[in-house]
């Protein structure tokens, strides 16, 4: 029985402010051909100078992936002709990459999966060709020379679900490290899986297929799943297969041939003579390692162990660093981890979504949310009322206690006041009283409901219950 063998190559655009080999801005969405200079346009005589920040970001990522950092790292020229490639070669790495030999541990459908990382290295992005309806083509070089990190895995994936989990974890890691926006829709993260099948007994393999044009993690998952099925189908029917690059067609949910191995290019890699090799000093590497933040997988595990959160909560809260930071600030101020988790993932998240804010822009601070949770804990208000208080805090910027006081929302816990209301409720619901005494405990709800209606929900429910029972059973 054949098994799927899948490897993934990811390109992530780094968050450096300038390009890889010149001082042009690396921003997204500027006017075409405005972020260009003699170097990134490849004018005669121009020379590249390496952006140290980009090197640092790749080393940072490599270390977070458990990679070794090379002691002598070289740039190579990858030679091919294309109009969007200003020099008609791309400065990339080949032998002697910046970092290599890492690992990522995943949990897929409850199973541990270990993926080996072959390398994380640095290269420059290309420009973009724009084809006009009149048959003419334009070239846009703003992206030409923007630093890209390439992360290549060994072919260790055995299913599309594993690939999806890897990309989710990798994206979260890049966010944590602050090295990439990792936005696939904007092209800041591109993933290209390589898929084939292998007979574990004979070692026989189907030809490798590389898939391109994948604009989301879901698309990667679906394309890998499709390609695995297609290759099994070819095996069964005896349809010939060949080493090729296939394009994912999102609309039809299929892959189609883009180019075959025969037309694949020889890139004639050779060491870039315009750049001296990079020899990362051990002190520098150690400083980068020391400055690594707590990584998302470790933090997720800690949230379960330290706060007793369910796996699901821990995963959602650690999806990005700011949310996890916010959550921890709330817990620190009020205890109650599970309640904090519910509020951050639930009501607060809803307000953030509605206003289009990120959590760092939240109009309710972690301390204010903690205070609100505290008012439930000490019986000042009910959970239901608290849910109404939060949007008011968001709108006014006031604290929970300020909103409660201004709107007179505190619970009535005064027994004499509630006693009067309980008596009225018992008098007004003779049928419920009879039912309760006849053994129907649920009938009590009507009496409680009456009191709550009278107080617009502000009566302390525990006190109300207690008093009704005392009256009826007394």
């Amino acid at each position: 029985m054949y098994e799927p063998i899948v490897g993934v190559e990811v390109h992530a655009q780094l968050t450096t402010s300038s390009k890889m080999f010149c001082s042009c801005r690396a921003e997204f969405g500027a006017e075409p051909n405005t972020n260009v200079c003699p170097v990134c346009l490849g004018l005669p005589g121009s020379l590249p100078v390496t952006n140290r920040k980009a090197v640092e970001q790749v080393i940072r990522t490599g270390l977070a992936l458990g990679c070794e950092v090379g002691t002598l790292c070289r740039f190579y020229r990858k030679n091919y002709f294309y109009p969007d490639l200003a020099k008609n070669y791309q400065i990339s790495q080949y032998d002697e990459p910046l970092t290599f030999g890492g690992r990522m541990e995943l949990s897929v459908e409850g199973r541990p999966v270990s993926i080996r990382i072959r390398r994380a290295h640095l290269e420059e992005d290309t420009g973009k060709n724009i084809h006009l309806p009149n048959g003419r083509s334009l070239v846009e070089y703003n992206r030409c020379g923007v630093p890209l990190m390439e992360i290549v895995t060994e072919p260790d994936f055995r299913s599309a679900a594993e690939v999806r989990e890897y990309l989710l974890q990798l994206r979260r890691l890049l966010w944590y490290l602050g090295v990439s926006t990792a936005n696939m829709e904007e092209g800041a993260l591109r993933a290209e899986p390589t898929v084939n099948l292998r007979d574990p007994e004979t070692g026989e393999r189907t030809p490798k297929v590389e898939i391109k044009n994948l604009a989301s993690i879901r698309a990667v998952h679906d394309a890998v799943e499709y390609e695995i099925r297609r290759q099994y189908h070819c095996l069964e029917t005896g349809e010939p297969m060949q080493q090729e690059t296939r394009r994912w067609n999102e609309a039809q949910g299929i892959t189609t041939v883009m180019r075959t191995k025969e037309s694949a290019e020889d890139y004639m890699y050779f060491p870039e003579p315009d750049l001296v090799p990079i020899e990362p000093e051990p002190e520098w590497v150690e400083a980068i390692r020391a400055a690594l933040p707590e990584l998302p997988q470790a933090r997720q595990q800690r949230f379960v162990a330290e706060y007793g959160l369910p796996e699901y909560d821990a995963q959602v809260l650690t999806e990005d660093r700011a949310t996890a930071d916010y959550f921890e600030a709330v817990v620190q101020a009020c205890g109650e981890p599970k309640a904090c988790s519910n509020w951050v993932m639930g009501d607060l998240q809803r307000l953030l979504n509605e206003s289009g804010c990120s959590i760092t822009e939240s109009r309710v601070s972690p301390q204010q949310l903690a205070e609100l949770i505290g008012t439930i804990k000490d019986g000042t208000i009910s959970h239901n009322i608290a849910q109404a208080v939060l949007p008011k805090m968001w709108a006014t910027g006031h604290s929970a206690r300020e909103v409660i006081a201004a709107e007179n929302l505190a619970l009535i816990s005064d027994a004499t006041e509630i006693e009067k209301l309980v008596d009225e409720a018992i008098a007004a619901n003779p049928k419920a009283v009879a039912d309760y005494r006849g053994g129907k405990e649920k009938a009590l709800g009507a009496i409680v409901g009456h009191v709550m209606r009278q107080t617009k929900g502000q009566a302390n429910a525990a006190v109300v219950n207690e008093l009704i029972l005392a009256r009826l059973n007394g």
Binding site: G42, L43, P44, G45, S46, L47, N88, S137, M268, F270
Partner: protein, 497 residues
Amino acid sequence: MAADTKETITVQLHELTAWELTQKLQQREISAVEAVEACFDRIAAVEDRVKAYLCLTRDQALQQAREVDARRASGEALPATAGVPIAYKDLLCTDGVPTTCASRILANFVPPYDATVVERCSQAGLPMVGKANMDEFAMGSSTENSAFQITANPWDLERVPGGSSGGSAAAVAAGEAFWALGTDTGGSIRQPASLCNLVGMKPTYGRVSRYGVVAYASSLDQVGPLTRDVRDCALLLGLIAGRDQRDSTSAAVPVPDYTEVLGRDVTGLRAGIVRELLYGEGIESDVREAVEAAIKTLDSLGMACEEVSLPHSEYSLPCYYIIAPAECSSNLARYDGVRYGHRTERETTSVYDMFAKTREEGFGDEVKLRIIKGTYVLSAGYYDAYYRKALQVRTLIKRDFEQAFERFDLLICPTSPSVAFRIGEKADDPLAMKLADICTLPINLAGIPAMSVPCGFSGGLPIGMQLMGKPFDEPTLLQVAYAYEQSCDWHRRRPAL
């Protein structure tokens, strides 16, 4: 008669060395504007025969000269050689002035920036006379590979000035510039210096910035001076040397005052005479004898000269003709007609067809040949057999020099195995043409500094001696060259044009 007097003065003026002119400028005997005019008067008189320049920048030169004169008149402290006109090889980018590399593919290219060396010379107040002819993209040893014109050797107009910096050398030799910058990838400064009776230096790789120097073979290219004597060479090297943030391969080694060593005693300095390159096959006897005589002179000055062997130097030629074409095939890939330079006007069926037709029309035969060779040696399946092997041989050649420099302060051999050959003589014999560089190629592969110094004549044609030094030890070369120069007068001879 007044007219005759003026004639006499200008003739003298254009024959001065840059340093002699500098002194006249500093003493206000003449102005920078007059120096520029002297160059252009001489150009008017001889350029139609020499054809050293692809482009003349008279207005710009006069403007720069006027600024120097005004600043000097105001008592401002100026760089010593401010006002001495210079010529640039046409692959040094000049802001707003065409830079063609003597290629049709860049015939209309006007860079928006100055090469670092040009910038430094401008800041030092050197007026730019023009852009000098060369072999297309610096590929050649005779300047016959220029797409635009053939430059003549001022010593014999039927002969080549050498190459690839032949235009720069001819301009200086003919009095059309006081000094010039060239580039040297395998001998392209030293060989034309030798053939034109000039001093020419290829500095240590990394000594001079390559920013704005249109690349032929990046790991071998280096900019250097072509001058009328050793002092001028030291002065011009001092202007252009030093670390440049824009060139990662430029070295952060401090730049000494290169004129300081001039006149210093050479007694006790040890010189290795490279056996293979002096007595080897292909070295003309007149050339050998002239260099031997020069070595005797150095001996008499107190130097200890002894033979030394560089056993791997014989592999320099094949090694060079793998590495240089490999780098060139990649460096020249950018000339595709998309962004600048020539683009075909023929019908094209695809963008690749456009690339192919553009490059077919834009490049000359020698350039195409090297691109094809370079592409071949880098191709999958050939890389190990050629390119990787060549890198290994390069290491061996470098090691030969390192070992020699354990015993010697400098090495000596001829610069060119022959004197200037006739135009067209080697055009159909590419191997003979390439053998013109056998003495100079190993130096670029090793990355060390070397210079050519006039050391005699054969049949009225100049002969050059090559001095080779340790990395960044240009001072020792200049010291020995100057001591030799003081004991002879070859460098004072001027061609009769």
